[in-house]
Protein backbone atom coordinates (compact mmCIF):
# COMPACT_ATOMS: atom_id res chain seq x y z
CA UNK A 1 0.00 0.00 0.00
CA UNK A 2 1.25 3.44 -0.97
CA UNK A 3 0.03 6.84 0.08
CA UNK A 4 0.31 10.39 -1.22
CA UNK A 5 -1.86 13.47 -1.27
CA UNK A 6 -2.36 13.33 -5.02
CA UNK A 7 -2.11 10.41 -7.39
CA UNK A 8 -1.82 11.08 -11.10
CA UNK A 9 -2.36 8.37 -13.69
CA UNK A 10 -0.50 9.24 -16.87
CA UNK A 11 3.05 10.58 -17.31
CA UNK A 12 2.39 12.74 -20.33
CA UNK A 13 2.75 16.49 -20.50
CA UNK A 14 -0.56 17.03 -18.65
CA UNK A 15 0.36 14.62 -15.85
CA UNK A 16 3.89 15.97 -15.54
CA UNK A 17 2.80 19.63 -15.62
CA UNK A 18 0.12 19.04 -13.00
CA UNK A 19 2.57 17.11 -10.83
CA UNK A 20 4.95 20.04 -11.08
CA UNK A 21 2.42 22.71 -10.08
CA UNK A 22 1.00 20.59 -7.27
CA UNK A 23 4.39 19.79 -5.83
CA UNK A 24 5.35 23.44 -6.07
CA UNK A 25 2.50 24.04 -3.66
CA UNK A 26 4.01 21.51 -1.32
CA UNK A 27 1.67 18.62 -2.01
CA UNK A 28 2.98 15.09 -2.12
CA UNK A 29 2.36 13.61 -5.55
CA UNK A 30 2.78 10.19 -7.12
CA UNK A 31 2.62 9.70 -10.90
CA UNK A 32 2.00 6.27 -12.41
CA UNK A 33 2.86 5.85 -16.09
CA UNK A 34 2.23 2.66 -18.03
CA UNK A 35 5.13 3.09 -20.46
CA UNK A 36 7.68 5.90 -20.19
CA UNK A 37 7.59 9.66 -19.65
CA UNK A 38 5.87 11.42 -22.54
CA UNK A 39 5.26 8.23 -24.45
CA UNK A 40 1.97 9.21 -26.06
CA UNK A 41 0.94 12.37 -27.86
CA UNK A 42 3.21 14.46 -25.63
CA UNK A 43 6.28 13.46 -27.60
CA UNK A 44 4.66 12.93 -30.96
CA UNK A 45 2.87 16.19 -31.67
CA UNK A 46 3.95 19.03 -33.91
CA UNK A 47 4.77 21.45 -31.10
CA UNK A 48 2.18 24.09 -31.89
CA UNK A 49 1.48 26.69 -29.22
CA UNK A 50 -1.52 28.16 -30.96
CA UNK A 51 -4.53 30.18 -29.99
CA UNK A 52 -5.82 30.78 -33.48
CA UNK A 53 -7.97 28.08 -34.97
CA UNK A 54 -9.14 26.91 -31.55
CA UNK A 55 -12.66 26.21 -30.46
CA UNK A 56 -14.06 29.11 -28.40
CA UNK A 57 -14.55 26.74 -25.46
CA UNK A 58 -10.83 26.17 -25.05
CA UNK A 59 -9.47 29.38 -26.59
CA UNK A 60 -9.35 31.19 -23.22
CA UNK A 61 -7.09 28.47 -21.85
CA UNK A 62 -4.72 28.87 -24.79
CA UNK A 63 -4.73 32.65 -24.45
CA UNK A 64 -4.00 32.37 -20.74
CA UNK A 65 -1.12 29.99 -21.40
CA UNK A 66 0.42 32.23 -24.05
CA UNK A 67 0.04 35.36 -21.99
CA UNK A 68 1.05 34.10 -18.57
CA UNK A 69 2.92 30.82 -18.76
CA UNK A 70 4.80 30.03 -21.97
CA UNK A 71 7.01 33.11 -22.05
CA UNK A 72 8.61 32.32 -18.69
CA UNK A 73 8.38 28.53 -18.84
CA UNK A 74 12.03 27.88 -19.75
CA UNK A 75 13.16 30.00 -16.80
CA UNK A 76 10.67 28.42 -14.47
CA UNK A 77 11.63 24.87 -15.42
CA UNK A 78 15.35 25.71 -15.72
CA UNK A 79 15.51 24.18 -19.15
CA UNK A 80 15.12 25.64 -22.64
CA UNK A 81 11.82 24.30 -23.95
CA UNK A 82 12.50 26.05 -27.27
CA UNK A 83 9.46 28.28 -27.12
CA UNK A 84 9.03 30.75 -29.99
CA UNK A 85 6.29 33.37 -29.85
CA UNK A 86 6.73 34.38 -33.47
CA UNK A 87 3.26 33.97 -34.83
CA UNK A 88 1.17 31.48 -36.74
CA UNK A 89 0.42 31.65 -40.43
CA UNK A 90 -2.54 29.66 -41.67
CA UNK A 91 -2.14 29.61 -45.41
CA UNK A 92 -4.65 29.84 -48.22
CA UNK A 93 -4.26 29.08 -51.91
CA UNK A 94 -7.88 29.49 -53.02
CA UNK A 95 -10.87 31.67 -52.28
CA UNK A 96 -12.50 28.72 -50.56
CA UNK A 97 -9.48 28.56 -48.26
CA UNK A 98 -9.78 32.25 -47.51
CA UNK A 99 -13.40 31.74 -46.58
CA UNK A 100 -12.52 28.99 -44.10
CA UNK A 101 -9.85 31.20 -42.54
CA UNK A 102 -12.15 34.20 -42.36
CA UNK A 103 -14.65 32.15 -40.35
CA UNK A 104 -12.02 30.99 -37.89
CA UNK A 105 -10.65 34.51 -37.59
CA UNK A 106 -14.03 36.08 -36.92
CA UNK A 107 -14.79 33.63 -34.13
CA UNK A 108 -11.41 34.22 -32.46
CA UNK A 109 -11.47 38.01 -32.65
CA UNK A 110 -14.86 37.95 -31.00
CA UNK A 111 -13.15 36.43 -27.96
CA UNK A 112 -10.42 39.05 -28.00
CA UNK A 113 -7.64 37.23 -29.85
CA UNK A 114 -5.33 39.32 -32.02
CA UNK A 115 -5.69 37.45 -35.30
CA UNK A 116 -6.35 38.89 -38.73
CA UNK A 117 -6.48 38.08 -42.42
CA UNK A 118 -3.49 39.22 -44.45
CA UNK A 119 -2.78 39.35 -48.18
CA UNK A 120 -0.13 37.65 -50.28
CA UNK A 121 2.39 40.49 -49.95
CA UNK A 122 2.24 40.54 -46.20
CA UNK A 123 2.50 36.74 -46.08
CA UNK A 124 5.63 36.94 -48.22
CA UNK A 125 7.05 39.64 -46.01
CA UNK A 126 6.58 37.40 -42.97
CA UNK A 127 7.82 34.25 -44.69
CA UNK A 128 9.66 34.82 -47.98
CA UNK A 129 10.15 31.10 -48.62
CA UNK A 130 6.51 30.42 -49.41
CA UNK A 131 5.26 29.52 -52.86
CA UNK A 132 3.71 32.21 -55.04
CA UNK A 133 0.54 30.13 -55.03
CA UNK A 134 -0.23 31.38 -51.52
CA UNK A 135 -2.81 34.16 -51.86
CA UNK A 136 -3.40 34.99 -48.25
CA UNK A 137 -3.38 33.76 -44.69
CA UNK A 138 -4.70 34.29 -41.25
CA UNK A 139 -2.01 35.74 -39.02
CA UNK A 140 -1.87 35.48 -35.27
CA UNK A 141 1.33 37.19 -34.12
CA UNK A 142 1.22 35.84 -30.56
CA UNK A 143 1.02 32.17 -31.58
CA UNK A 144 4.14 30.07 -31.74
CA UNK A 145 5.68 26.70 -31.07
CA UNK A 146 7.80 24.85 -28.54
CA UNK A 147 9.55 21.52 -28.26
CA UNK A 148 7.00 19.10 -26.83
CA UNK A 149 9.49 16.41 -25.86
CA UNK A 150 11.63 18.88 -23.94
CA UNK A 151 8.62 20.57 -22.36
CA UNK A 152 7.30 17.26 -21.06
CA UNK A 153 10.71 16.19 -19.80
CA UNK A 154 11.35 19.64 -18.27
CA UNK A 155 8.13 19.39 -16.23
CA UNK A 156 9.07 15.85 -15.28
CA UNK A 157 12.60 16.80 -14.28
CA UNK A 158 11.56 19.74 -12.15
CA UNK A 159 8.67 17.85 -10.57
CA UNK A 160 11.01 14.97 -9.77
CA UNK A 161 13.45 17.42 -8.20
CA UNK A 162 10.58 18.77 -6.13
CA UNK A 163 10.02 15.32 -4.76
CA UNK A 164 7.27 13.96 -6.98
CA UNK A 165 7.47 10.20 -7.12
CA UNK A 166 7.27 8.91 -10.69
CA UNK A 167 6.83 5.25 -11.43
CA UNK A 168 6.95 4.04 -15.01
CA UNK A 169 6.18 0.66 -16.46
CA UNK A 170 3.29 0.20 -14.07
CA UNK A 171 -0.25 -0.13 -15.27
CA UNK A 172 -3.20 1.34 -13.40
CA UNK A 173 -6.13 -1.06 -13.49
CA UNK A 174 -9.04 0.30 -11.50
CA UNK A 175 -10.16 3.07 -9.24
CA UNK A 176 -11.20 2.08 -5.74
CA UNK A 177 -14.32 3.77 -4.36
CA UNK A 178 -14.99 3.81 -0.63
CA UNK A 179 -18.10 5.36 0.83
CA UNK A 180 -18.76 7.02 -2.50
CA UNK A 181 -15.34 8.62 -2.76
CA UNK A 182 -12.40 7.72 -5.02
CA UNK A 183 -9.67 6.78 -2.59
CA UNK A 184 -7.15 4.66 -4.42
CA UNK A 185 -6.00 3.12 -7.65
CA UNK A 186 -5.06 -0.51 -7.98
CA UNK A 187 -2.19 -1.20 -10.34
CA UNK A 188 -0.59 -4.39 -11.55
CA UNK A 189 1.91 -3.91 -8.73
CA UNK A 190 0.31 -2.29 -5.69
CA UNK A 191 -2.53 -0.10 -4.43
CA UNK A 192 -1.99 3.64 -4.28
CA UNK A 193 -4.11 5.68 -1.87
CA UNK A 194 -4.54 9.42 -2.28
CA UNK A 195 -6.86 12.20 -1.30
CA UNK A 196 -7.20 13.30 -4.91
CA UNK A 197 -6.82 11.21 -8.04
CA UNK A 198 -6.26 12.62 -11.51
CA UNK A 199 -6.79 10.49 -14.58
CA UNK A 200 -4.79 11.99 -17.46
CA UNK A 201 -4.09 8.91 -19.52
CA UNK A 202 -5.20 9.98 -22.95
CA UNK A 203 -7.43 7.57 -24.85
CA UNK A 204 -6.73 4.89 -22.27
CA UNK A 205 -8.33 7.04 -19.56
CA UNK A 206 -11.58 5.32 -20.41
CA UNK A 207 -10.19 1.93 -19.33
CA UNK A 208 -9.74 3.31 -15.85
CA UNK A 209 -12.83 5.52 -15.72
CA UNK A 210 -14.94 2.49 -16.57
CA UNK A 211 -14.24 1.10 -13.10
CA UNK A 212 -16.34 3.92 -11.61
CA UNK A 213 -18.91 3.89 -14.38
CA UNK A 214 -17.65 6.85 -16.36
CA UNK A 215 -17.02 7.17 -20.07
CA UNK A 216 -15.68 10.00 -22.21
CA UNK A 217 -16.80 9.73 -25.84
CA UNK A 218 -13.51 9.68 -27.74
CA UNK A 219 -11.85 7.84 -30.56
CA UNK A 220 -8.27 6.89 -31.04
CA UNK A 221 -6.99 8.32 -34.31
CA UNK A 222 -3.58 7.74 -35.87
CA UNK A 223 -1.68 10.78 -37.14
CA UNK A 224 1.78 11.05 -38.59
CA UNK A 225 4.63 13.51 -38.45
CA UNK A 226 8.09 13.69 -39.92
CA UNK A 227 11.32 15.56 -39.39
CA UNK A 228 14.03 16.68 -41.77
CA UNK A 229 17.77 16.94 -41.32
CA UNK A 230 18.96 20.26 -39.89
CA UNK A 231 18.68 23.12 -42.36
CA UNK A 232 20.00 26.66 -42.23
CA UNK A 233 17.74 28.92 -40.16
CA UNK A 234 14.83 30.04 -42.36
CA UNK A 235 11.83 31.11 -40.31
CA UNK A 236 10.42 31.02 -36.80
CA UNK A 237 6.64 30.99 -37.29
CA UNK A 238 4.28 28.10 -36.78
CA UNK A 239 2.56 27.14 -40.01
CA UNK A 240 -0.68 25.53 -40.98
CA UNK A 241 -2.97 25.55 -43.96
CA UNK A 242 -6.67 26.10 -44.47
CA UNK A 243 -6.86 22.73 -46.13
CA UNK A 244 -4.82 20.97 -43.42
CA UNK A 245 -2.27 19.72 -46.00
CA UNK A 246 0.38 19.93 -43.33
CA UNK A 247 1.39 21.90 -40.27
CA UNK A 248 4.75 22.47 -38.65
CA UNK A 249 7.73 24.64 -37.90
CA UNK A 250 11.51 24.82 -37.97
CA UNK A 251 13.02 23.74 -34.66
CA UNK A 252 15.89 25.29 -32.73
CA UNK A 253 17.99 22.40 -34.03
CA UNK A 254 17.32 23.54 -37.59
CA UNK A 255 15.23 20.56 -38.57
CA UNK A 256 11.69 21.01 -39.85
CA UNK A 257 8.96 19.17 -38.01
CA UNK A 258 5.82 18.68 -40.06
CA UNK A 259 2.63 16.81 -39.44
CA UNK A 260 -0.05 15.81 -41.87
CA UNK A 261 -1.98 12.92 -43.23
CA UNK A 262 -2.82 10.89 -46.28
CA UNK A 263 -6.49 10.97 -45.46
CA UNK A 264 -6.65 7.23 -44.91
CA UNK A 265 -3.94 6.86 -42.32
CA UNK A 266 -6.45 6.50 -39.53
CA UNK A 267 -7.24 3.01 -40.80
CA UNK A 268 -4.70 0.54 -39.58
CA UNK A 269 -4.66 -3.12 -38.71
CA UNK A 270 -2.04 -2.76 -35.99
CA UNK A 271 -3.71 -1.69 -32.79
CA UNK A 272 -0.77 -2.46 -30.55
CA UNK A 273 1.70 0.04 -31.91
CA UNK A 274 1.23 3.43 -33.53
CA UNK A 275 2.74 2.47 -36.88
CA UNK A 276 3.40 4.71 -39.84
CA UNK A 277 1.93 3.92 -43.23
CA UNK A 278 3.78 3.75 -46.49
CA UNK A 279 1.73 6.38 -48.25
CA UNK A 280 1.47 9.00 -45.52
CA UNK A 281 4.93 10.56 -45.49
CA UNK A 282 4.92 10.95 -49.29
CA UNK A 283 1.55 12.65 -49.00
CA UNK A 284 2.80 15.02 -46.31
CA UNK A 285 5.85 15.81 -48.45
CA UNK A 286 3.67 16.70 -51.44
CA UNK A 287 1.64 18.91 -49.13
CA UNK A 288 4.71 20.72 -47.85
CA UNK A 289 6.27 21.13 -51.29
CA UNK A 290 3.07 22.71 -52.51
CA UNK A 291 3.78 25.57 -50.14
CA UNK A 292 7.58 25.32 -49.75
CA UNK A 293 9.13 24.26 -53.03
CA UNK A 294 12.46 25.41 -51.55
CA UNK A 295 12.40 22.47 -49.14
CA UNK A 296 12.28 19.85 -51.89
CA UNK A 297 15.87 18.78 -51.30
CA UNK A 298 15.59 18.64 -47.52
CA UNK A 299 16.02 15.06 -46.43
CA UNK A 300 13.52 13.31 -44.23
CA UNK A 301 15.35 11.44 -41.49
CA UNK A 302 12.48 10.13 -39.41
CA UNK A 303 8.75 9.63 -39.51
CA UNK A 304 6.49 8.60 -36.69
CA UNK A 305 2.88 8.07 -35.85
CA UNK A 306 0.86 8.76 -32.75
CA UNK A 307 -2.67 8.36 -31.59
CA UNK A 308 -4.77 11.31 -30.63
CA UNK A 309 -7.69 10.97 -28.24
CA UNK A 310 -10.31 12.65 -30.37
CA UNK A 311 -13.30 13.84 -28.42
CA UNK A 312 -16.80 13.63 -29.85
CA UNK A 313 -17.01 17.43 -29.78
CA UNK A 314 -13.29 18.08 -30.41
CA UNK A 315 -12.45 19.77 -27.11
CA UNK A 316 -11.06 18.10 -24.00
CA UNK A 317 -12.64 17.02 -20.77
CA UNK A 318 -11.05 18.92 -17.87
CA UNK A 319 -13.23 18.42 -14.88
CA UNK A 320 -13.80 17.21 -11.37
CA UNK A 321 -16.25 14.32 -11.24
CA UNK A 322 -19.19 15.33 -9.07
CA UNK A 323 -20.50 11.81 -8.55
CA UNK A 324 -17.12 10.50 -7.48
CA UNK A 325 -15.57 13.04 -5.14
CA UNK A 326 -11.79 12.91 -5.15
CA UNK A 327 -11.65 12.09 -8.85
CA UNK A 328 -10.55 14.52 -11.56
CA UNK A 329 -10.34 13.85 -15.30
CA UNK A 330 -8.25 15.46 -18.03
CA UNK A 331 -8.32 13.71 -21.38
CA UNK A 332 -9.69 13.81 -24.94
CA UNK A 333 -7.41 16.69 -25.92
CA UNK A 334 -8.05 15.82 -29.57
CA UNK A 335 -4.51 16.48 -30.74
CA UNK A 336 -4.22 20.04 -29.49
CA UNK A 337 -3.42 19.57 -25.84
CA UNK A 338 0.25 20.45 -25.91
CA UNK A 339 -0.14 24.19 -26.48
CA UNK A 340 -2.46 24.54 -23.51
CA UNK A 341 -0.68 22.05 -21.23
CA UNK A 342 0.92 24.60 -18.84
CA UNK A 343 -2.45 26.23 -18.25
CA UNK A 344 -4.17 22.87 -17.92
CA UNK A 345 -1.61 21.89 -15.30
CA UNK A 346 -2.49 24.98 -13.30
CA UNK A 347 -6.24 24.54 -13.79
CA UNK A 348 -6.04 20.95 -12.59
CA UNK A 349 -4.00 22.09 -9.60
CA UNK A 350 -6.79 24.54 -8.75
CA UNK A 351 -9.47 21.89 -9.24
CA UNK A 352 -7.69 19.47 -6.93
CA UNK A 353 -7.00 22.06 -4.25
CA UNK A 354 -10.61 23.24 -4.22
CA UNK A 355 -9.82 26.61 -5.75
CA UNK A 356 -11.56 28.31 -8.64
CA UNK A 357 -9.49 27.97 -11.80
CA UNK A 358 -8.23 31.21 -13.36
CA UNK A 359 -10.06 30.34 -16.57
CA UNK A 360 -13.66 29.23 -16.74
CA UNK A 361 -13.80 25.61 -17.86
CA UNK A 362 -17.50 24.91 -17.40
CA UNK A 363 -17.78 24.01 -21.08
CA UNK A 364 -15.26 21.20 -20.64
CA UNK A 365 -17.16 19.17 -18.06
CA UNK A 366 -17.23 15.40 -18.24
CA UNK A 367 -21.03 15.25 -18.29
CA UNK A 368 -21.65 17.57 -21.23
CA UNK A 369 -22.29 14.94 -23.90
CA UNK A 370 -25.89 14.64 -25.00
CA UNK A 371 -27.80 13.13 -27.86
CA UNK A 372 -28.26 15.57 -30.75
CA UNK A 373 -32.04 15.22 -30.98
Amino acid sequence: MQQSEVLIIGGGVIGCATAYYLSKRGLSVTVIEKKQIGEGGSSRNGGGVRQSGRDPRELPIAMYAVEHLWPSLSDELEMDVEYYKKGNLRLAKTDAHLKILQGLTDRATALGLDVRMIGADEVKAINPYLSDEVIGASWCPTDGHANPMLTTLAYYRKARRQGVRFITGESAQRIVKQKGRAVAVVTDYDTYYAERILVAAGFESNDLLASVGLFVPMNRILLEALVTEAQPKMFEQMLGTAEADFYGHQSTHGSFVFGGSSGIDAYTSDFDRPVTQGMTAPSICRGIMGYFPVLADAKIVRTWAGWIDECADHVPVISNVDEVPGLTVACAFTGHGFGISPAVGQILTSLMTNETPMVNIDALRYDRFKAKI
Binding site: Q36, G38, M289
Partner: protein, 110 residues
Protein backbone atom coordinates in the same frame (compact mmCIF):
# COMPACT_ATOMS: atom_id res chain seq x y z
CA UNK B 1 14.00 -0.79 -19.40
CA UNK B 2 11.18 -3.24 -19.52
CA UNK B 3 9.05 -3.32 -16.44
CA UNK B 4 8.53 -1.11 -13.48
CA UNK B 5 10.99 1.64 -12.63
CA UNK B 6 10.72 3.86 -9.60
CA UNK B 7 12.22 7.11 -10.82
CA UNK B 8 13.11 8.13 -7.28
CA UNK B 9 15.73 5.42 -6.76
CA UNK B 10 18.99 6.80 -5.45
CA UNK B 11 21.70 6.80 -8.11
CA UNK B 12 24.12 8.54 -5.81
CA UNK B 13 25.53 11.93 -6.62
CA UNK B 14 26.65 12.75 -10.15
CA UNK B 15 30.44 12.68 -10.04
CA UNK B 16 32.26 14.31 -12.92
CA UNK B 17 34.59 11.94 -14.79
CA UNK B 18 37.71 12.81 -16.81
CA UNK B 19 36.17 11.51 -20.03
CA UNK B 20 32.87 13.36 -19.66
CA UNK B 21 33.82 15.54 -22.60
CA UNK B 22 34.05 12.60 -25.02
CA UNK B 23 31.72 12.91 -28.00
CA UNK B 24 29.42 9.89 -28.10
CA UNK B 25 26.75 10.85 -30.65
CA UNK B 26 28.85 12.04 -33.55
CA UNK B 27 25.97 13.59 -35.49
CA UNK B 28 24.46 15.67 -32.72
CA UNK B 29 27.72 16.08 -30.78
CA UNK B 30 26.42 14.82 -27.47
CA UNK B 31 29.03 14.05 -24.85
CA UNK B 32 29.34 11.25 -22.37
CA UNK B 33 28.98 13.72 -19.51
CA UNK B 34 25.70 15.03 -20.91
CA UNK B 35 24.35 11.50 -21.12
CA UNK B 36 25.46 10.66 -17.57
CA UNK B 37 23.97 13.91 -16.31
CA UNK B 38 20.67 13.17 -18.08
CA UNK B 39 20.38 9.85 -16.29
CA UNK B 40 20.79 11.66 -12.98
CA UNK B 41 18.13 14.10 -14.15
CA UNK B 42 15.71 11.18 -14.36
CA UNK B 43 16.04 10.11 -17.99
CA UNK B 44 16.19 6.36 -17.42
CA UNK B 45 15.25 5.01 -20.83
CA UNK B 46 17.09 5.21 -24.15
CA UNK B 47 14.09 6.96 -25.66
CA UNK B 48 13.93 9.58 -22.93
CA UNK B 49 17.66 10.21 -23.36
CA UNK B 50 17.10 10.66 -27.09
CA UNK B 51 14.28 13.09 -26.58
CA UNK B 52 16.20 14.98 -23.93
CA UNK B 53 19.60 15.21 -25.64
CA UNK B 54 18.98 14.28 -29.31
CA UNK B 55 21.37 11.31 -29.16
CA UNK B 56 20.71 9.21 -32.22
CA UNK B 57 18.34 11.81 -33.66
CA UNK B 58 20.79 13.21 -36.20
CA UNK B 59 21.45 12.40 -39.81
CA UNK B 60 22.55 8.80 -39.17
CA UNK B 61 19.68 8.11 -36.78
CA UNK B 62 21.79 6.45 -34.14
CA UNK B 63 23.50 3.86 -36.30
CA UNK B 64 26.87 4.59 -34.75
CA UNK B 65 26.09 5.67 -31.20
CA UNK B 66 23.11 3.56 -30.12
CA UNK B 67 25.27 0.87 -28.60
CA UNK B 68 27.63 3.36 -26.94
CA UNK B 69 24.78 5.34 -25.39
CA UNK B 70 23.25 2.16 -24.05
CA UNK B 71 26.49 1.18 -22.34
CA UNK B 72 26.81 4.56 -20.66
CA UNK B 73 23.19 4.67 -19.47
CA UNK B 74 23.38 1.09 -18.22
CA UNK B 75 26.53 1.82 -16.26
CA UNK B 76 24.99 4.91 -14.71
CA UNK B 77 21.88 2.96 -13.71
CA UNK B 78 24.01 0.02 -12.62
CA UNK B 79 22.11 -2.44 -14.82
CA UNK B 80 23.09 -4.65 -17.74
CA UNK B 81 22.83 -2.96 -21.16
CA UNK B 82 20.64 -5.88 -22.23
CA UNK B 83 17.75 -4.72 -20.05
CA UNK B 84 17.60 -1.33 -21.77
CA UNK B 85 15.15 -1.33 -24.62
CA UNK B 86 16.40 0.19 -27.88
CA UNK B 87 14.71 3.24 -29.30
CA UNK B 88 11.99 2.42 -31.80
CA UNK B 89 13.36 1.95 -35.32
CA UNK B 90 11.67 4.39 -37.65
CA UNK B 91 11.48 4.83 -41.38
CA UNK B 92 13.16 6.03 -43.46
CA UNK B 93 16.19 3.85 -42.77
CA UNK B 94 18.32 6.26 -44.79
CA UNK B 95 17.77 10.01 -45.26
CA UNK B 96 15.38 10.53 -48.19
CA UNK B 97 14.96 13.92 -49.89
CA UNK B 98 11.40 15.24 -49.66
CA UNK B 99 11.25 15.53 -53.42
CA UNK B 100 12.05 11.80 -53.74
CA UNK B 101 9.63 10.71 -51.04
CA UNK B 102 6.94 12.81 -52.66
CA UNK B 103 7.60 11.24 -56.03
CA UNK B 104 5.97 7.83 -55.86
CA UNK B 105 6.67 6.21 -59.18
CA UNK B 106 3.83 3.82 -58.61
CA UNK B 107 1.82 2.19 -55.93
CA UNK B 108 -0.13 5.04 -54.46
CA UNK B 109 -2.93 2.62 -53.77
CA UNK B 110 -2.83 0.16 -50.95
Amino acid sequence: MNGRIDRSIDLGPYVAAPDDGMIICRCEEVTKGEIRRAVHDGMFTITEIRRYLRTGMGLCQGQTCARLVKQIVAKELDVSPDVLEDAVARAPFRPVPMRVLANEAEGRTR
